[in-house]
């Protein structure tokens, strides 16, 4: 905890009663009021997260789109200025380097948002591949960027209460640069990691505490990492290190729609195209009493090992204990499987993903 880095909002978290923990080298609140209360606030009203630990890489140069198309499995040829696009980034063997979101600022300028704990690895990976392009320069600008996530159906009310100059992006996965929110110049995107409508707000570190306080005063409940995880888990969004990893391909993780095998080439294409995935990500609902976390063995009815859980726990909106698992294709067709938790075999029924889909717009 002593060595953990502070985000620009560290003092703010202490002031609002955040329970601080070390997470991926950062001191961040795991919760304020409580994970369930925060989870519910985001599903029904509005919550506010400090996500300043996320990595930001600015990719500039005429060859930036070509480099992105080489590095990422998704296709950036058709991405318009002012829009965002999600993509996995793979190793030649199809394993995942990271998953990220690309913001197109202009034809030769892209903002790439990556996982905090992968940022340096990603930067090195991008630089290594940028070397074979004439004009593509990745630069890690994370230290100069604060990020807030305002999530939940009432997010517009909170924004209007703090005062917004300029219109919000009209569609999901779009953004507006140089918007004024609560007096601060921000980049605002209609993105998030909760399964609810909302925005992510990028701004200068010096402006972040005042905007955080203003949004809380405007009715947004401060939320920590705990509810960030339960919300993304219910929405069945992949988390690097869980559903995606060095040895998990995006196809195994069920991210086929973000893997454009029709592209002329990209790193990992041959491996992904030639060897079909051996495992599939599925959803499970625990039928017996108990909670299955990540890395619990999954067994079939005959007791054969067929895979493992990648994330698991209580899904507050569903009021049920759920798990995501990577299992063999054969097992993925079974209606009922078993999860081993501390030597006990808990029955689990297969359910579709995502576990939760919002009705809010």
């Amino acid at each position: 905890m002593q060595d953990a880095r502070h985000t620009p909002l560290y003092e703010c978290h202490l002031r609002h009663g955040g329970k601080m923990v070390a997470f991926g080298g950062w001191a961040l609140p795991v919760q304020y009021a409580g994970i369930l209360a925060e989870h519910t606030a985001v599903r029904e009203a509005c919550g506010l997260f400090d996500v300043s630990h996320m990595g930001e890489i600015m990719l500039t140069g005429k060859d930036a789109p070509a480099l992105l198309n080489d590095l990422c499995t998704n296709d950036f040829t058709s991405l318009e200025t002012g829009r965002c696009r999600y993509s996995p980034m793979c190793y030649p063997d199809g394993g995942t380097v990271d998953d990220l979101i690309v913001y197109k600022l202009d034809e030769a300028k892209y903002l790439v948002i990556v996982n905090a704990s992968n940022c340096e690895k990603d930067c090195a990976w991008m630089r290594e591949h940028a070397a074979s392009y004439k004009d593509a320069v990745p630069e890690n600008i994370s230290a100069g960027v604060a990020q807030l996530a305002l999530q939940g159906p009432a997010f517009r009310d909170a924004l209007s209460r703090v005062g917004v100059e300029g219109g919000l992006p009209g569609k999901p996965y779009a953004f507006v640069e140089k918007m004024k929110v609560g007096g601060a110049i921000c980049l605002v995107s209609t993105t998030g990691y909760t399964g609810e409508p909302g925005v992510e707000i990028y701004l200068q570190p010096k402006d972040a505490p005042a905007l955080f306080d203003a949004l809380v005063a405007a009715g947004a409940l401060p939320c920590g990492l705990g509810s960030r995880d339960t919300l993304r888990f219910e929405a069945s969004m992949p988390l690097y290190g869980h559903e995606l990893d060095r040895d998990i391909t995006p196809l195994e993780a069920g991210l086929k729609s973000f893997v454009k095998l029709h592209k002329p080439d990209f790193i990992g294409k041959a491996a992904l195209a030639e060897s079909p995935p051996q495992r599939r990500r599925i959803g499970l609902e625990l039928l017996d009493r108990g909670v299955a976390r990540e890395n619990c063995p999954v067994l079939d009815a005959e007791g054969r090992a067929v895979g493992r859980t990648t994330s698991g726990g209580f899904a507050p909106t569903l009021g049920k204990n759920m798990a995501m698992a990577l299992v063999t294709h054969e097992a993925a067709e079974q209606d009922k499987l078993f999860i081993e938790v501390r030597g006990r075999r808990l029955a689990a029924g297969r359910v579709g993903l995502p576990f939760y889909k919002t009705a809010h717009k």
């Binding site: 329970k19 919760q31 994970i35 705990g226 909670v291």
Partner: protein, 128 residues
């Protein structure tokens, strides 16, 4: 307030001793640190437990934590009301017991009284 009708462990459990019966629960500080509790894996009557062995598992929204047994002995009863209402460990930590153990051996020197436990909580709260 920390009640003075029972003893405490450094792991933030409470133990109420009555003859050879020990009733075990979690302190208010423990439930606070765990956060919202959603499931308790209870021992079965007849299970034998060792001193320092796992008596139960408490699952909060974010993690699983072992409840360790102070006495060695045999589980006589577990609080099955927690199966349907695990959140009672949050709302009523001093009332929501987890299990009763018939004690065969118990090292009472490892237990803290009300004042010593209150002092421990104060130190922990300053750390947090």
């Amino acid at each position: 307030m920390i009640p003075n009708d029972r003893k405490y462990t450094k792991d933030h459990e409470w133990v109420m001793i009555d003859g050879d019966m020990a009733t075990v629960g979690l302190t208010d500080f423990a439930q606070h640190m765990l956060g919202d509790i959603v499931f308790v894996e209870l021992p079965q009557p007849g299970d034998s437990v060792e001193a320092g062995g796992r008596l139960a598992v408490v699952e909060s929204v974010k993690a699983a934590s072992d409840v360790l047994s102070v006495p060695a002995g045999e589980v006589v009863e577990s609080n099955t009301a927690l199966e349907d209402a695990p959140e009672k460990l949050n709302s009523d930590p001093w009332g929501a017991w987890i299990a009763r153990v018939r004690v065969t051996t118990l090292n009472e020197e490892t237990l803290l009284n009300q004042d010593a436990y209150a002092a421990l909580v104060k130190v922990e709260e300053e750390k947090a």
